[in-house]
Subunit: 176 residues, 2 copies
DNA sequence: GATTATCTGAAATGAGCATTCCACTTGTCA
DNA sequence: TGACAAGTGGAATGCTCATTTCAGATAATC
């Protein structure tokens, strides 16, 4: 259905904007459709945003898995975090605003993402590439929250995000 | 006015709860008052929350200034950040939920807080106590966002917050 | 103790938003 | 071309919430 695609593209475009209003009407206007059509195409606002967000997230998760398969856990972690913050910088609204919504596909993907990062952290820790004096569970939450914090920076700045990551990664190095 | 105090106390109590609903009705119920009375006492929900949040924030800002006056900038920064995250852990809702509200007193206090932290960072940087290879403006935003990230952690955990801060501070040390 | 001024909170109002309805348009097939 | 099916979006509905209203309660003044 053509409207599905139009609505999805519109929602995806709005998710990339720092402070877009994510009402059904705004999405419909962006898509050049009526609000009713947008809702019908997906069965509800939540389903639409779930589709849009998980569509954005899927390649990210795949990339994390690829990196894990291709290189050392530590190198995978470094590379992936840089890519992740670039992604977050380009899709601000994803972590914000979506508070009260039910997004099952997105939630599942996020769990996959967390699992992949967990594997990177565990591996890097085992290899002695990152500090071992902290509970590994702590490291994982730390990374998740940090990427969130980076995504919140206004105005969006890739430089700032990179600086942030530099500090995080230096803080994660094994004690010397 | 007694109602002012009751409403303020109720709002303050709710701000300490991790996932409280901050509707006027919820605050009124907590205070044992009617919703109309709560609104009247402050002239609006925004003004009430502004008073509650700035009341919480004021001693924090004062503490930052005291530390600056009493010790080295770097030591002030270390001490203050520990205290700040303890405060944030105890008042989760402050950084969340309040998105669309107009809180002038809170905004002003936050600016004061940022100014105090800026002074700490600048001083510590000048003293060579923290790394100098990053733009100082970056460090300030980094610290602000990190405390926000710490406040977001669910469930609230002082241990996790401390671990987070450990990583941040280690990441801020001068290159060796 | 009566009269007036003030305060209270349950219910009415209004605004923002997702969702549903339905008269109308567009496309399909004979 | 005409009859029918499917799709569309402006308007109506229903919900949540902040704010306002107003009849009754309470307090102050004499």
């Amino acid at each position: 259905m053509r409207n599905r695609r139009l609505a999805l593209d519109a929602a995806t475009a709005l998710l990339a904007e720092p402070d877009a209003t994510l009402t059904v009407e705004a999405i419909a206007k962006e898509a050049g459709l009526g609000a009713a059509t947008v809702v019908r195409a997906f069965g509800g606002k939540d389903a639409l945003l779930d589709a849009a967000v998980s569509g954005l997230l899927e390649p990210v998760v795949q990339r994390a898995r690829d990196l894990l398969a291709q290189t050392t856990p530590h190198q995978a972690l470094l590379t992936f975090l840089h890519e992740l913050i670039a992604f977050q910088s380009a899709h601000h609204a994803i972590s914000e605003q979506l508070g009260g919504l039910r997004l099952p596909a997105t939630t599942a993907l996020r769990a996959d993402l967390v699992a992949a990062v967990d594997a990177m952290v565990d591996g890097a820790r085992r290899d002695g590439a990152i500090r071992t004096d902290l509970d590994p569970a702590v490291l994982k939450i730390l990374i998740a929250e940090t990427t969130h914090a980076i995504a919140r920076i206004r105005p969006p700045s890739q430089d700032l995000a990179e600086a942030y990551l530099t500090v995080l990664l230096d803080g994660l190095r094994p004690a010397t």
